[in-house]
Symmetry: C2
Subunit: 350 residues, 2 copies
Amino acid sequence: MSVTIREVASRAGVSIATVSRVFNNSDPVDEGTRARVKKAATELRYVPNVLGRSLSMRRTDSIGLLLPDLFGEFFSEVIRGCDQTAQQSNFHLLVSSSHNNRQEIEAALRMMRGRVDGLIIMSPHIDANTLIENLPRTLPVVLLNCHVDGDDFDSINIDNRGGVSAMVRHLLSHGHTRIGILKGTEHNLDAAERLLGYREAVAAGSAVLSPDLEVPGSFSEASGYDAAGKLLSLRPRPTAIVASNDSMAIGALSAIRESGLRVPEDIALVGFDDIPVAAYITPSLTTVNVDIDGLGVAAITQVIHAVKNRNAHTKQHSVLPTRLSLRHSCGCTNQQTSHQSQKEVTAETT
Amino acid sequence: MSVTIREVASRAGVSIATVSRVFNNSDPVDEGTRARVKKAATELRYVPNVLGRSLSMRRTDSIGLLLPDLFGEFFSEVIRGCDQTAQQSNFHLLVSSSHNNRQEIEAALRMMRGRVDGLIIMSPHIDANTLIENLPRTLPVVLLNCHVDGDDFDSINIDNRGGVSAMVRHLLSHGHTRIGILKGTEHNLDAAERLLGYREAVAAGSAVLSPDLEVPGSFSEASGYDAAGKLLSLRPRPTAIVASNDSMAIGALSAIRESGLRVPEDIALVGFDDIPVAAYITPSLTTVNVDIDGLGVAAITQVIHAVKNRNAHTKQHSVLPTRLSLRHSCGCTNQQTSHQSQKEVTAETT
DNA sequence: CAATTTGATGTAAACGTTTACATGCGATAC
DNA sequence: GTATCGCATGTAAACGTTTACATCAAATTG
């Protein structure tokens, strides 16, 4: 079927070891024979079989990336960040997605086993035990935005809490005291942490803390639309709304407009993520900026480091900072109207 | 390091062949020994090594997906469609992205070689020769939105031309005769085809066909904003704008609003793709709907079919139809205000 | 000039599976 | 009672590499 190292060897009149040496530059080879081997190889269109190679070398030069159900722009960015960084280090990326419960995750873990030298896992449905039971101890793992205790694995988390908290403080500084929140998907770690950040800042700022002001949602435009409707029917009505992500904020904006209210004059609105479209809706959306691409870069860097150290390094837990992108929807007025502006008004959230 | 089939065999007191048989249900095995093997395997936490397995069986049970630079929601959807469909057929997905020139594509092709049983390629930078030269003839390939001649490979294309053409006819039916277009990225196949569809329908409808009405862009919100600005400064001003995708339409909307004009009263605006956010901006965006998820599903289905037929089937070229999502931005008035509406007004584009 | 090093290559044993073939044995058939 | 069958299992050869070790000639060293 496919041409093997043996055929190249016999055509070049050498042993397979020599062919291997030529392709790996692993040992000195006479220039003459090297040329003969190369010639034979190109004539036969020989490409080394990666499986044989990996089996023999006990490494695959690839990194696995386990993701939950993909939606929106977020994961595109994560994948891009990972892939580009991996390529720079001569690693390949093996992505597997759509794992929305423990069983699916376990199946994915097993299938990745043997195929990759390291693993990046982004899944709310994972716990330390599942991992330890399904993976060889020597396999480097970096957890992205997972809630896993212990020091068995590296982890990187987004500063959800700090980001929302800073945003709420910003709203408080505008004079708001009755601030509602559109919550994200239930049992989702990001959603939970953002809610915590909201409560923390609301309480610290002596604003109104009430279950009525916390309405459920699911990170989609549709759920933002619905949830905002509920907040708007409260009396007294909240004067500001925090959406758990930008998509929900966009849905909320649509609902607010239909009810005849204006943003930001009648009600302030803010989001989370800072997806590209946030700057282009009217009014432009004030939101918490996350360096999504940087998340992927950091994860790959860390896992490759672990691979090179044979996973014997001390595990690290890092938190990716966020910053505020202050635009019009919160009522800030010191904004240029042009979207071309290179320097938007931002503020560190820490 | 990792526990192998040999250790399981010796612990269960059988040969490695029997262990293999138990794990593959390939031959009858006595219930007693089967139980002993299973017990030994779980005690040792044995997981078959996929590389050895693939090497021996000459198949990997995985499909490669080659993508260009990822951005926006589009690719998330493609990947999701592919992954879910692949999983249903017990295949795994190996994604590699960020290939923006011929060299990178070739490198990716080589690296996929041996790792996958079939390949889905989505890249404008590919041609039949590159493929034929870098891939074994037996490897099934499905081309997604690529412009490749010949009958060597299966292909699936989006009906860009028909979609835009239908949309322009819709605008003509609203009475518009001076319609501008915001072009997509240069040298991009989708962009070129959409432009063709525009010209075709404009010419057929005896509307104004002029280079001034075709302004360059690059599929991003920012480029839509800029390009729209140029159209708005024309005199006479176009009364309708076709954006080459939804992101550009959103950028354009922002620019139109800043110039003090209203959509759709002063100027109609339409997009392409029908990304989720299109229904939630104000006014809701009339756009060409593409079943992105279905694209992934179709691609995987086709490539798996080819794998099972050892790539000996006759190659197919199919075109994915589009339909119009008629909302407010084009001036249609027969719209419900609620986003919850299950049945939006749609029209087949063919 | 003998001893040692160096360079170029070949041999064969891994790596962890699957599977064609062989073997042995109890049961059925006649 | 022998021939035939089928089941359960073992043996060993693939699959396509890498690499430790061996070999041998030529060059260097003293």
